[in-house]
Structure formats: structure tokens, C-alpha cells
Amino acid sequence: MTLRTMGGAAARRGIVRLGLAFMVSYGALPIIIALMYLGFGLVEPRFHSGDNAINILKQASYLAILATGQMLALLTRGFDLSIGQMTSMVSVASALVMMGVLARNPDAVVLAILAACAVGLAAGLATGAVNGLCVAVFRINPFVVTLGMQGIAMGFATTISDGFPVFNLPIEFTEVFSRSSWLGIPAPVAVCIIVLAVAYIVLNHSVLGRSWYILGGNPRAAHIAGLSSRVHLVSAYVMCSLFVAVGALLLTARTGSGEPNLGGGLMLQSIAAAVIGGVSLRGGEGRVIHVVYGALFVTILSIGMNFVRIDGYIQQIVLGVVVVAAVYLDLLRTRIR
Amino acid sequence: MVQSQVDRPLESPLWRRVVQRSLSFGVLPILLLALFLFFGLYEPKFWRAANLINVLRNSSYLMIISSGQMLVLIIGGFDLSVGAVVALTSVAAALTMASLYVSMPESAYLVIVIGVVVALVVGSLVGVVNGLTVAILKVNPFMVTLGTMSIAFGIALYTTTGVPVYGMPDEFTREFGRLRWFNLPVSIYLTAGILLVLWWVMNWTKLGRYIYAIGGNIHAARVSGIPTLVYIVATYTMCSFLAAVTGVLLTARVGSGEATLGPTLMLESIAAAVIGGVSLRGGVGRIELVALGALFLALVTNGMNLIRVDSKIQTIVVGAVLILAVGLDRLKLARR
């Protein structure tokens, strides 16, 4: 064996070791995401265009916002199945309010948008409060509570809208919350960054966030350590719903109409994004960065498959396989170290 | 504590045991009775035999699929793929039967048998994959079954391009789907049989015992020498098998293979199990209560249809009733 090949082998081993070290500290997901992005671009060079990159970021932002909300529920050993229907409800409610204000005074666009946002957030707050109260005070299983809320929110959304989309929202709404850039960052991405930052600070630097972690890690221990489960559980669900409301407003702005069917698959997607990223379904474990990874992963995969024109039904099959594979690869991190 | 336990007489009087036994069912039976009375008084048609049979039949599908879901929940898992398995088996059954029936139109029964067997095998395979992935790769069951759900739906949709598959022998729908014994649909007997067998399995066999043990503390089960892998795979397979049975029954009922069959069944099956007191954290659950939970859901829907509640309002009511039912159950626990 010559010196040279030995050197090559050593270098290769060095790279492998570096890669492993990276995986151990950051998980496999960043690598998988990067490979996916590169891979789709190789097959279809348009995938690497700047426009598409921005599109990916925007799409991922919506999902990341919802998944962050979902993560808060998951952290406390809960669930929020009502996320999708809540999105629909907020969308319809805010759209109706907007149209209502404009019907009175067609010039009050700003007022209409503000009122719509306020109502949207309030609707989210109320839903979250009900979810939280049922979970924390009446101690009903969060799965059941939010499943019930799913029906309730959906019923509201279809009742108040009569089952039809609310069209003709002011173009300014779409303009500001979907098309414009804030400081050079697309609006949805900027909002997402704000949401993530808030979540990060709350989770890592506040007593509230710390209490969620402990509560999710062991509720009885939290009780004995003097943490009030009621206050903290309710606040987790309220904050979750507020984030969802924000996401719903952004999605409404994107479509330009209030949609009673907006939220269809969002619940599973939000949980999937959170869990793929590394949030534990058993509670007590999960970080903001996990949600970012998860959202990017899901978004790049689905946009990429569209780009390389994979049949819609086959896409579902691929999605299923890839999701499980990604979660597995990411798990390896804890096994190899 | 020890003392009070030891001092307590081992056998309490029969009446007390009967009372305790029925109390252990919680408020679910009472709720069911209340709903039964309410709907009947409001709309006498509800009490007609035809309608009650209808309720039973509708709940029977949910009962079968929920009891499978229950097994997986007890072992500490989750199965999101049951709805997709229903769709997949429906498509598999229909495609098999339709293609065979063309080549051998005179032996309809053989075609049916082959079709049903193929469908059940295909459905159960999903469970095998679920179980193996959960047990060997140790990926979270939620994600595994979310993945297989997507895959199974994808396959069902792709093979049928989303349109219903016709061309199954008439006998399948006529004899199997609409057949009645003593005026009751066959599916009800089948459900009763499945529930009985599962009750026996959960209470009297090693399999049942191990499912509870693994769900309660998988580490303890493993160090106690239980081959957890085998039991996990078996449980997921049973769950998928039961979903496949539901798929076959539903296909016989609608008379065509549909990839859109049963997307709501996944959440409904979990809901029925949870209403029946199954813990989502594993280790706890009883088949008889799960059956009641499924009956409860079917009853609410049927009753509201009969008294013509607007479908939009219905979703609200179902949601609220769901929360209430489980909430009331909690109250009882809290007082105990």
C-alpha cells in the first residue's frame, strides 16, 4: 500500500468522521435537507432559481409557524388536533370581518385589515383558552379535547361562511402580508422569524417555557416542585392557538380569500414537521430549531417532487417512505455517539 | 395501606361486586342510555327496529377498526394508517375480484374467496411493515404509521387513478353485504364474534397479557424476557388485519372498490378507543368499553341525522359531546 492511498484513505476517514461528528451534534436532518435541495436541483436546474428559493422559504414559513404552535402542545404531553380547523375558522372569521367593515365604509381598508387581524387573533385566543381549560382544569385528555374542538371549529367556519369561500378581500391585505418585503425579507418569512424568536425566548429564557418542559417531562414532579399545571397548560394552548391564528391570517392573505377548507391537512403536517424535526411526542423534549428543520424538510420535498413532475399519487408514496427514513436517520444520532 | 388491604375480606358480597363491576364501566353506559331515550322521545322513528339495526351496523364497522386501534394503543403505539388500510383493501379486493371474474365468470364464489383473502393479506402486510419499523428501527409509531398511511393511500389512488372499481361479482354485495340472519346483517354477527375473541385474547392469553405489559413498561417487559419484537409486530398486524376486515365489509356494502373509503375512520377509531377509556400512553384499555365508545359515536351521528340537525351544526355538536362524554368520565374518576 502506497503512502498516497493511505493518505487518501485517511482523508476519507477524516471526512467520514467529521460528518459523523456533525450528525451527532446537529442530527442528520440538516444534511438530508441540504442533499435534497441539491438533488432536486440536479434533476431540474430551475429548482435552484432565486425565485424558487424564496418560494420554498415562504411555504416553509407557514408550516413552521403552525408547527411551532403544535410543538408547544406536544411539549406539555399534549396534542393539538384542532389546528387545521382553527386555521379555517380564523380565515373565514377574519375575512368576514374585513368584508363587513369594508361594506360600511369602502375606504377604511387599514381599519378593516386591523379589525380582521384582531378578530382572527381573538378567535385563536378563545379556542386556545377553551382547549387549555378543558385539558388543565377538567383534566380531559388533550387528544379528545382538540378532536372535539376540531368539529366545533369546523362547524363554526362552515356555518358563518355558509360553506363558501369569502372572496374579494382587499388587495392590500394580500399585498402587505404575502407579497411585500419587510426589510428585504418576504413578509411571511419575516413573520415566521418573529414567531420563532418569540417561541425561542419563551422556551429558553422564561419561567413559562421552563415550566412547560418540566411539566411535559414529569407532571407529578412538576406539581411537587410547586409549578401550577393549570396556569401553564392553559398558557401553552393559548400560545399555540395564537401562533396558529397568525399562520391562518398569513395563509388567508396568500389565497386572498377566507377559506372554510383552508386547514384540511395542516394538523397532520404540523405534527409531522415537529416530530420529523425531533420534537418528542412523549412530552418534555423539543426545540425551535427542530421545527425549522421539519418545516424545511416537508416543504422542500413536496415542492421538489412537483418540480421533477412526479405523479401526485406517487408523491404520496414517496413522501411516506422518505419521512420515515428521515426520522430514522435522525434517530441514529443518539445511537452512534 | 398494607394493613387495610390485608384486613379487607377477600370476597365481598355478590351485590357489591355487581355494583362495582358496573361502576367500573363509568358513565358511558348511562350516557348511551340518555342519548337513546332523548333521540327516541324526540323522534320516535329512532326506536324503530330498522333504524336501530342500522345504528348497530354502522357502529359495527367502527367497532372492529377501533378494537384494532385499541390493541396498538395499549401496546404503547399509535396507528394512523387504519383508514388507508381500509382504502387499500377495498381497492385490492375489488381489483382482484374484477379481474378474476372476467376470466372465470362461472365460479363467483371462488373469486370472492380469493379476493377477500388477497385483500386481507395486503391489508395485514401494512401492519407487518408498521410493526417491524416500530420494533426494529425504533421510529416513533406516529411517524411510521403516518408514513404508511401516505404510502397506502398513494398506492390505492395510483392503482385506481382515484375512480371506483366496479365489476365484482354481484354475489359479493348481494350475499355478503346484504345477507341477514334472523333479520340482522351478517356484519353484526361478525363483529360480535371478533369482540368476543378479542376479549378472550386480552384477558385469558399470554398475548393479551404481554400487550398490556409492553404498553405499561416496555423496558420491564424486555428484561423480564418477553420477546417484545414479536409481540409488537403481531399487534400491529392484528390491527391492520382488523382494518382490512372492515375494508372488506365496507366494500361489500358499497359494491365497489374505493380509494376514498374511510379517511375519517382513523380519527374516529382513536376517538372511540379514548372515549372507551384507553390511555394514549399505553398499558390501559378494555375491549368492552371501546365497543361502547364506537356505539356511542355511531348513535350520536345517527340520531342527529334523524332529527335533521343541520350538518354544519352536527360537527359542532359531535365535537362538544365528545369532550363532554370524556369529561364526565373524568368526574367519576376524580370522585373515586
Binding site: 414532579a221 | 423496558h219 424476557g225
Partner: protein, 531 residues
């Protein structure tokens, strides 16, 4: 498996009387190495066990004792090394094979399914069944017989999750003894048992020894080592320090081997200058009847012990005060002010802290790092938080200091508590008491599973607390602890306080007699006895 003892291994002709030292090897471990993420739990350890011998494993928390026993039990494989059991080399040992071969483990963190009954747990993995169908009646009879044989007060159809830790311990022991044993592993079996059950266990150990069973025994109670042990192997940081004859070695030497330094294992003498009454409970009864009309006081600057058998209500005493048990009668007064509805958060604010006995179930959030588990009880204090935001740097520094004080190993404050050894988990919980100004401490089995060095630190800690004017309630099943540390002792029996001893009255004799006398254990004769 039965008689496959290989000739070249046999030190002696098989079948002769089992005298330790002369009897053949049952288990021979060579060069066992085991790594966990971030630590080497065992570093090339040799270990041997003869038939009829009790071989004690001794070492600090995290030394690798449980890891070694787990490898023998087949829980996980060793990374390197050979296992020779009964003369045969075993390569891929699974828990199932281990049990079949006659290796019966009693785990430190139990192997019980919480939702099954005691009886169902006893047979877990070894059900009597034909074609998969359970023989319930047969198993019930055998379960009753085994429990009766061991003299454990357990109801066979009680749900294990609802039992106290000590009762779960008994279940775990009974579970190991259900089958025919060749090698019994006892990993801190007495950690939450009292004298009575411990004596039963020792009698049993003696019997098993005579039958030629080899026993690996792990314990932090030095007294027990000399009582039951034949040989002692000391581990430190995953390495074997040496194997010595139990009869020939002094306690001090053992401790020195274990820690690598000299430690005075004596109980500290604690000055008693009682101040005002801080905790007063009068006529407490719980709704479930586990406490009946109990009254007690704890004054500033004194340590008050509570002793009694398992299930006598001593745990419930502290729990009731801290608001974890539903009271049906009675009143609790803290620093002269009555507490109307006690609950943990108000009690903490009033300066009362409770340390539960079951650290896994009630004490710790396992997936969370050590740092968060330590600071959790102090999240409302200005030195950890400002305006409901956590001062992270401050938190890290404080926790690091506390970790050093209590010698928690490994001293990585970001390590999830899940990955700590049993004793270190206990220390993490105790560490909470150091995070905030607390004047009243309720310790429920504070030294369960912690090593001798740590114990002396905990005792020292209590001494400082008491001498600094705190009120300490010490509930413990380890009698010497209660006897030596307490200024006053309450003895409990069947939910009632039967007597109060103070000063010179506190003797083993006095306390023990009260344990049993009242009613004869397990409901025997009823002699009228008094202190």
C-alpha cells in the same frame, strides 16, 4: 443447562458441600467493558462468583455496579469481554436466555409493568400457559404461596402502579424468586425496606446460599455487607479496584477503596438548640385512612425522625403536610399561621420543601437536563429569575456549584437525568434543597440508593440545616439513620403515632419494640405493650 460444569473450570469435585472459596465457579466475567454516550461505565472489569457465595459489589454512585449486573442479566450486551456462566461461554445473552439459564435479577429501577397486578407481574415473561392460554388459577395459588413464603404483606391482586416503592421492591424480589434460581442478582434490594423485611430477605439469602445459589449483592449499606457478604469487589469510575474478603476488612478501608480518600463514616453529632415550633400538625387524618389522628411538631433547629414499618403511614405524614394527600380532618400550622388548603406551591412559598421517596415517579423530569431539574423549585426567586425570565448564566453557575458540593457524577449539568445512575438521580433531587431559602425540610427516605460518601454529605447537610435553625423532618426506613441523627423520634404503626421518644430514650431496642409489639406483625397476638 443443568450439569454442564466443565472439567477444567471445576476447582473441586462437583457435588461437594458448598463452602465459599472451595466451591466451583458459577460465573466468570473477563475484561467486561461497556460504554454509554459520554461515559465508560465499565472499563475491562473482571468478576467471579462461586456457588453458594454472596459476592458484594461496592462503589460510589455511577461506579458501574448496575451496569455490571445488567450485563449479567442480559439487559444489554457488553462492548467487550467474555461471560462464562456455569462453565459455558455465553456470547449473545438476552434477558430471556438469562432467565432460562437460572439468572434472576432484582433490578434497582424495577422491572414491573405498572398497570398489571402484583400477581401478573410476578409471572411476567414466565406465565403458566398451554397453547398461549393462561392458567390463572394455578398462577394465583403459586403467587399466594410465594408471597406467604417470603412473609411479604402484599395483596396479589393489587395494581403495582398504585403501590408504594417499598411494596414494589417486595414485588420485584418475589418476582425474581418465583423461578428456580442459580444466580440471584440483588441490586440494592433493601434500599426502601425496613428492618423487618430486610431480616426476612437475609434469612432467605442464607437459605439460598445453603442451596448453592450464587448471589451478586449490591448495596450502599455497609452494615449489610458484613452481615451477608462473603467477598466484596470494589468498583470506582468503571474500574475494578480490588476484591477482598468481607470478614477480613474494616469499613473504613472499604470506604477508602471506594472513594480513593479517607472519609469519616460516622454520623455527625448535631447540636440541638430547639427554637420556636415551625411545623405543627394536629389530629391529621387522611381521607383514605392511611393516617389516623396524627399530631406532631417540629421546632426550629431540631431534626425529628419518623420510624415505622413499610406502610405504617410515615410517608403519608410528610405528603399530607405538603398537600399531596387528601385530608379528612386536622390542621397544619406553619410558623404559627394555619394553612387552610395545603398544596405544594403555597408550601414552598411558606418555606417548606418536600423530597419524595420515589424519585423517578415524583421527583425528576427524566428527559430534562440536570440543570433544569435542580433549579425547578427555585423559579420564583430573584437569584434565578428576573421578571419571570431566567438568568441563565447565574443558573448555570449556581447549579455547577451545587453539583460540586454533592459530588454528582458525571458533573455535566446538561446531561439528561435519564442517563444518570440511581444514586446520582437522588442527589439531583436533594440538590433542590440547596437552591432556595427553605427553613422547613421534609425528607422522605433521603438516602435511598446513595453511596456512603454522599450519605455523609447529606448528613452533614442536615446538620448544617438544623444548626442553622431549620426544622428537619426525617422519614427513613434505615433505622441507624433515624437513631443517630434525630433529636426526637416519632414511631408510627398502622397510621397512628404510637409514641414519641427523645434524647436518651432513642435506642434501637425501644424503637424496634414499638415497630412490632402493638399487634404482632401481620395480625398475630395482641399483647398490650407500651413504651
Amino acid at each position: 443447562m443443568a450439569e454442564t460444569r466443565s472439567a477444567e473450570r471445576a476447582h473441586d469435585a462437583p457435588g461437594t458441600a458448598v463452602v465459599p472459596g472451595a466451591s466451583p465457579l458459577l460465573l466468570d466475567l473477563k475484561g467486561i467493558t461497556k460504554r454509554f454516550p459520554g461515559v465508560v461505565a465499565l472499563d475491562s472489569v473482571d468478576f467471579e462468583l462461586r456457588r453458594g457465595e454472596v459476592h458484594v459489589l461496592f462503589g460510589e454512585n455511577g461506579a458501574g455496579k448496575s451496569t455490571l449486573t445488567n450485563i449479567v442479566a442480559g439487559t444489554y450486551p457488553a462492548d467487550q469481554g467474555r461471560i462464562i456462566f456455569d462453565g459455558r461461554q455465553i456470547s449473545h445473552l438476552t434477558p430471556h436466555q438469562a432467565r432460562l439459564a437460572g439468572i434472576s435479577p432484582v433490578f434497582q429501577e424495577f422491572s414491573l409493568a405498572p398497570d398489571l397486578t402484583v400477581e401478573e407481574n410476578l409471572f411476567l415473561g414466565r406465565e403458566h400457559a398451554a397453547w398461549g392460554v393462561l392458567h390463572k388459577r394455578e398462577m394465583r395459588a403459586k403467587a399466594r404461596a410465594v408471597l406467604g413464603d417470603l412473609g411479604f404483606d402484599l395483596r396479589a391482586n393489587a395494581r403495582v402502579g398504585g403501590l408504594m416503592r417499598a411494596q414494589q421492591q417486595m414485588t420485584e424480589i418475589a418476582k425474581a424468586l418465583l423461578q428456580d434460581v442459580k444466580l440471584l442478582i440483588l441490586d440494592e434490594p433493601t434500599a426502601s425496606l425496613t428492618e423487618h423485611e430486610t431480616e426476612r430477605l437475609f434469612a432467605l439469602i442464607d437459605r439460598l446460599k445453603r442451596e448453592g445459589v450464587g448471589i451478586i449483592y449490591v448495596s450502599h449499606r455497609i452494615g449489610e455487607i458484613k452481615r451477608v457478604g462473603d467477598r466484596v469487589t470494589v468498583l470506582r469510575d468503571g474500574k475494578k479496584i480490588g476484591t477482598v474478603d468481607a470478614a477480613a476488612i474494616e469499613e473504613i478501608q472499604l470506604v477508602e477503596m471506594m472513594t480513593g480518600r479517607k472519609i469519616d463514616v460516622l454520623f455527625p453529632t448535631i447540636d440541638c438548640k430547639p427554637g420556636p415550633v415551625l411545623i405543627e400538625a394536629s389530629h391529621l387524618s387522611t381521607a383514605d385512612g392511611r393516617l389516623v389522628d396524627v399530631s406532631f411538631t417540629v421546632r426550629a433547629g431540631e431534626i425529628v425522625g419518623v420510624a415505622g414499618l413499610v406502610g405504617c403511614g410515615k410517608s403519608e405524614l410528610a405528603r399530607a403536610v405538603f398537600g399531596l394527600e387528601k385530608l379528612s380532618a386536622g390542621e397544619i400550622t406553619i410558623e404559627g399561621a394555619p394553612v387552610r388548603r395545603p398544596k405544594p406551591s403555597t408550601m414552598l412559598k411558606r418555606g417548606v420543601c418536600y423530597f419524595p421517596s420515589d424519585r423517578v415517579a415524583e421527583g425528576l423530569a427524566l428527559p430534562r437536563p440536570l440543570r433544569e431539574n435542580v433549579s425547578v423549585a427555585a423559579l420564583d426567586l430573584p437569584n434565578f429569575t428576573r421578571l419571570r425570565f431566567i438568568r441563565r448564566a447565574r443558573e448555570r453557575a449556581e447549579v455547577k456549584a451545587i453539583v460540586e458540593t454533592l459530588r454528582i457524577r458525571p458533573p455535566q449539568i446538561e446531561r439528561p437525568v435519564d442517563f444518570l445512575s440511581g444514586g446520582n438521580r437522588q442527589k439531583v433531587m436533594l440538590a433542590r434543597g440547596l437552591t432556595r431559602e427553605i427553613r422547613m425540610f421534609l425528607f422522605d427516605e433521603p438516602t435511598v440508593g446513595i453511596d456512603v460518601g454522599a450519605k455523609t454529605e447529606v448528613y452533614q447537610f442536615m446538620k448544617e440545616l438544623a444548626e442553622g435553625g431549620s426544622a428537619v423532618l426525617l422519614i427513613s426506613s434505615e433505622l441507624p439513620e433515624v437513631l443517630n441523627l434525630s433529636h426526637r423520634v416519632y414511631v408510627m404503626h398502622r397510621g397512628r403515632v404510637v409514641t414519641e421518644l427523645s434524647g436518651a430514650e432513642i435506642t434501637e431496642q425501644a424503637v424496634l419494640s414499638l415497630f412490632f409489639d402493638k399487634k404482632g406483625f401481620g395480625g398475630g397476638a395482641k399483647p398490650a405493650a407500651s413504651a
